[in-house]
């Protein structure tokens, strides 16, 4: 009697399993589609931002974009080899404005190297930041001049100009005084980290 019950039970289980497997189960896709443009980050500046020494794809703005910014961020690097702030004013600002970026970073190491007149530097930088900020909500970050970028007195003067313009035109200064690495790739990572800290800090 027990054996017969077991046989009946076995057949019932087999049948229920068979019928249950007749329906296809499709994997539910719970991901949410992301739509529209993400935030746009534009980098302006000279050799260090362009990647003249480290390589274009390991330039610090590219590293910042790759490792520190959300995946939804789009990035355009308008910096160019050996360009100072006057070149940025002349050739990079208008294309940057047209792109309507959410974030702009400016580094001006080349001016310290070539010893640009601080007054001229200040005027050009002021024009660049005001043009970027004029009628926009663009966040502008200006890096302080790297300590080893030029003669100490030039670095001090340029940094003072950076501080003044940032305060006047509503930009934020990124302090690079602690950057000590000499290897271009490591240095790029350190600069990117400094920018990331400033971006993450409350405004």
């Amino acid at each position: 009697m027990k054996a017969r019950r077991s046989v009946v039970l076995l057949v019932a289980v087999a049948l229920s399993g068979t019928l249950a497997s007749c329906t296809d189960r499709k994997e539910a896709n719970s991901a949410t589609p992301e739509q529209g443009r993400g935030s746009l980050y534009v980098s302006l500046g000279g050799d260090d931002a362009y990647g003249g020494r480290s390589g274009l794809l390991t330039a610090w703005p590219q590293v910042l974009f790759r490792t520190r910014l959300p995946i939804t961020t789009e990035f355009v690097n308008l910096a160019d080899r050996r360009e100072g702030i006057s070149d940025v004013r002349r050739r990079q600002v208008e294309p940057a404005r047209e792109l309507q970026p959410d974030l702009v970073t400016i580094t001006v190491t080349d001016d310290a190297e070539r010893g640009t007149d601080p007054a001229v530097f200040e005027a050009d930088l002021d024009a660049v930041v005001r043009r970027l900020r004029d009628g926009t909500t663009t966040r502008v970050l200006i890096a302080s001049v790297l300590p080893d970028a030029g003669a100490p007195e030039v670095v001090v003067q340029l940094n003072a100009a950076v501080e003044r313009i940032a305060a006047d035109a509503g930009a934020t200064v990124v302090d690079l005084s602690g950057i000590s690495a000499t290897d271009p790739t490591v240095r790029g990572r350190e600069i990117a980290a400094a920018f990331a800290r400033t971006i993450a800090a409350p405004r």
């Binding site: 057949v11 087999a14 007749c22 589609p33 690097n77 050739r91």
Partner: protein, 450 residues
């Protein structure tokens, strides 16, 4: 005598001769299992072969290319490409309006600069991992991912990007080759991030520079794709944004710059169309109409027709083997029922003596045969499915080892129905002769012989 009485008597008879009933059911079950597993295996193999031939897309698909058709286009499954000819929205609509066309899926491609992540560590010690993946120029194809089921795309690993996603991407075998991997390494790239740089010319202060618009995307799938050129497949939105960026280049009157921008975006708004027809018979006429409109096309219609013919032959042969097994099982049922008639002559005589008619006696034996057949059909169909799944596991294990998509072992309702009710019907046919013999047995002879 009612149907319920016949049923109760049949069940009692089965219980009384339980051992023989189990053996009879087992014979039917084995035959049904053989037929079920063969049909499931044939179905799975056929769909796998068709999926391979059509690259996972519909069998009735036609790929349309942005070029005029060359001579002899319709005699060949492959595209015979003539001069370039853009596929614009008007052309897409015209093709979509052709008789026999079910749907048209547009493809958009863009040339992008690709920075791949560092190569993954491989478990196979015999293979040396690539130290560094060099950036390369690749092709990114955008499709309407909501209609991905209509495209010849087979997912080898992961899942397709979410429709309209701007940061998820599927990669093809071409990407794996570009980063020094094989199709068997598909799972290793899932979850990694790729950077795409769409180029654009900037003219400022008298000089031109090329600048990239960089985006990042997560690899969520490795796919085999036909008709979607290049290494990447993503949403329309992703590719259109990249094309728009490149198309906005400051070219002015600089011919070199104009040619550069044109080469990157191409002349054609759509890089191709994938046309799905209403049926396999519509593929030829629709291709002819597309050729008349002036576009080259490709469709594996000759290949699929050949595969269909061969698969039908295989199906007929295997079904015949299963039916022979069922026939043998039917003989077993007939034998068991004849033995039962012989053993139950006295019982039949008593039934007739108390007023049972011939048809009442016939019904008792037919119900018994039917019950044995259905029980065998249920057990056999279930066993056949389990058998097919086990074979499927072994086959899929082999296919995944080869970097190929596995087979899907499903159980169509038709096979379940045919397995159970076919076995029952066969048992009824097999039980007809014994039941007839029992019904015609005269009461006196039955009692006397007993």
């Amino acid at each position: 005598m009612t149907w319920a009485d016949s049923f109760v008597m049949a069940v009692r008879s089965i219980r009384r001769r339980f051992g023989r009933a189990v053996l009879t059911v087992a014979a039917v079950a084995l035959a049904a299992a053989l037929l079920t597993s063969l049909l499931i295996a044939v179905g799975a193999a056929r769909s796998r072969v068709f999926a391979a031939v059509s690259k996972g897309g519909p069998l009735t698909g036609i790929q349309v290319l942005p070029s005029t058709p060359d001579f002899g286009q319709l005699d060949s499954d492959s595209a015979k490409i003539g001069d370039p000819r853009p596929i614009d929205e008007a052309a897409r609509r015209r093709i979509a309006g052709l008789r026999g066309v079910k749907s048209v899926v547009a493809l958009v491609s863009s040339s992008v600069y690709v920075v791949a992540p560092p190569p993954p560590k491989l478990n196979d010690p015999s293979r040396r991992a690539v130290a560094q993946v060099e950036p390369f120029q690749g092709t990114f194809t955008g499709v309407d991912l909501q209609r991905a089921g209509e495209l010849p795309v087979t997912v080898l690993a992961g899942r397709l990007p979410v429709p309209r996603s701007r940061h998820e991407v599927a990669v093809t075998d071409a990407y794996l080759r570009a980063v020094g991997l094989r199709s068997t390494d598909a799972n290793a790239v899932l979850g990694s991030e790729v950077e795409f740089g769409a180029p654009r010319l900037f003219a400022s202060a008298g000089t031109s520079t090329i600048r990239g618009r960089w985006t990042r995307s997560t690899i969520v799938a490795v796919v085999a794709a036909q008709g979607a050129p290049g290494e990447f497949i993503g949403s329309f939105e992703q590719v259109r944004a990249a094309r728009a960026w490149t198309a906005a280049s400051d070219v002015g009157l600089d011919r070199e710059a104009q040619r550069f921008a044109q080469e990157l975006t191409g002349d054609s708004p759509y890089s191709g169309l994938f046309v799905v027809t209403n049926g396999f018979d519509s593929v030829g006429p629709v291709r002819a109409a597309i050729t008349r409109i002036g576009f080259s096309s490709s469709a594996p219609e000759s290949l699929i027709a050949s595969v269909r013919r061969y698969s039908q032959v295989v199906e007929i042969v295997l079904t015949a083997i299963g039916l022979i097994a069922l026939g043998i099982a039917a003989l077993g049922i007939a034998n068991a029922m004849l033995a039962a008639v012989r053993e139950r002559r006295r019982e039949i005589g008593v039934l007739k003596a108390i007023g049972a008619r011939d048809r009442d006696v016939r019904r008792v034996f037919l119900v018994e045969a039917g019950l044995l057949g259905i029980a065998g059909g249920v057990a056999g169909t279930a066993f056949g499915y389990v058998l097919a799944r086990l074979v499927g596991l072994v086959v899929n294990n082999y296919l995944s080892g080869q970097g190929l998509t596995g087979v899907h072992i499903g159980l169509p309702v038709v096979i379940v129905g045919a397995g159970i009710f076919g076995s029952g019907l066969l048992a009824l046919v097999a039980g007809t002769l014994p039941a007839q013999r029992a019904a015609r047995l005269p009461a006196r002879q039955a009692m006397g012989d007993g």
